[in-house]
Amino acid sequence: MTTYDADGITLERVREYVWEIPREGDMRVPARVLASEELLDEISEDKTLQQLKNATHLPGVQEHAVCMPDGHQGYGFPVGGVAGIDAEDGCISPGAIGYDLNCGVRMMTTPLTYDDVRGREAELVDTLFANVPAGLGGGGVYEGSKADVEEILERGVEWALAEGFALPSDLDHCEDEGRRTDADPSRVSRKAKDRGKNQVGSLGSGNHFLEVQRVTDVYRDDVAREFGLEADRIVVLVHCGSRGLGHQVCTDYLREIEQTHAGMLDRLPDRELAAAPAGSQLAEDYYGAMCAAINFAWVNRQLVMHRAREVIAKLFDLDTGEMELLYDVAHNIGKKEVHRIEGEERELYVHRKGATRAFPAGRPELPAAYRDVGQPVIIPGSMGAGSYVLRGGENSMDVSFGSTAHGAGRLMSRTQAKQEFWGGDVRDDLRDHQQVYVKAESGATVAEEAPGVYKDVDEVVRVSDALGIGDRVARTFPVCNIKG
């Protein structure tokens, strides 16, 4: 048997790109890593594998905890981790879903080609930057009242449509049509709502951004056509989440669960894995609050995208209706889903932290537009590297609880990045050598997000494609990038 030794943890090769850490000690199930050896070399450099092992201690975890090809160390649960946990006698763990609830990505198609935009990049990046709120304290597209926040939490993108921030087709191209009906706004704290009020429609900072991109490669013509993608086409990618509101929901419940379910926590190897037993009041409350935060994040991305749509329509003399949402994917999310476990259908809380749902064609959860072709999956790259559009692969349900990667994991810490790069140089380099125009609230953010600090997204996507969990459809390359 081929094995891989990583600092005291031995992985056994199950088949190409699938590695298993066998069950031992208090692990309830084995753990699996989906990676090439090249990616495994990177994954095993930090605490990712230990955190993945720890995740298998969660009560009710099924089959195996899985690490996606872009996995890296998180807090408690690794980023790129997926765990399917029995929704009847297992548990739900906020830390295994992440602080930024429904952090995710959406892509909007346009009728423009690269030639239409060439020569006007500076104007485009400046206008987008002036119109899309970014950074800390930059406000939002919409200045909400307390009542607005309640509505957003309850109704999701339906609220945005009613308020004139969406086109009807935006709802057709979003998971759950942009509204999680399990949302319970009354379970979201006042503190969280206070933080959300002035952040409706804002990018925030860190690795979040809005990018105008051009399609450079198409790998599956038939699928690309269904997605409205072709070479040289201009698209817009938005990467952000639920801002302070979602973070506060996670923090609030982490603390409450820690106090109420201390017994369960005592048996877990990491405090960040704090979990509420399925069926408990706190599990229900957290699920309702999380679903409300998911709605908030959808509205957030919707408002940012719609603002960009208006800006582009004005600059290029287009009708807003000519720019359609391709799809919106979440990569920090917990959802009740039915999966086949040992031949039986079971309802699970599928925890995806830094992992994207990637359902294949035929799944009833998919919107009508994509039911026959498979769910679009959007994988953002870094500023100087491409992003990818995939579609849910037919093996994803068996291999990864219907999931694939979420992007290029970080390679270099933020502090180190700032020592190695200077924001101004990174910006000028990208403009002069790659024709990528970047504008940010903070120069430090540009340095911290420099192309060199991320892993190679090409290899991540190659492995996803080879495993048949997310099939490569198209690759895009940045034209303009704005960030906090």
Binding site: Y99, L136, G137, K191, G244, R271, R410, S413, A444, G484
Partner: protein, 146 residues
Amino acid sequence: MSYALRDHTADVAVEATGETLDSVFEAVADGMAAAMAESIPEGGERFSLAITAEGREQLLFDYLDDLIYERDVRGTLPIDNRATVSAPSESEGVADGGGGRWRVEATARGVALDRVEARDLKAVTYSEMDLSQTEEGWHAYVVFDV
């Protein structure tokens, strides 16, 4: 008291020391501000906050969480932090079987965010958190989600 920003792959960590629990709390809070902004101008009004929690580490967690909340709601970056930490009183400890509340009374100078070139810091985490007594006083290590 002093703090330093430490390397962490995806996030940012603050390591701090202080002679007393008060000063180590202050140092972590100032370190958190430094993780958001490299230079901070003068001015801004001071505001106060008071937090209680079931343990020392939990108190530090909740204190930092509340500073992030105040930042978002007030639209100001909290700096020049002052904190007074108190242990559960003995009577409280006896009354509820030792499960009394730790308390911090704190103030901070809030500098308007539009005057600062600042980056977001999303949340406090328990990941690798340390708050321990040393020969010189107190040591703390906190990882923040960026």
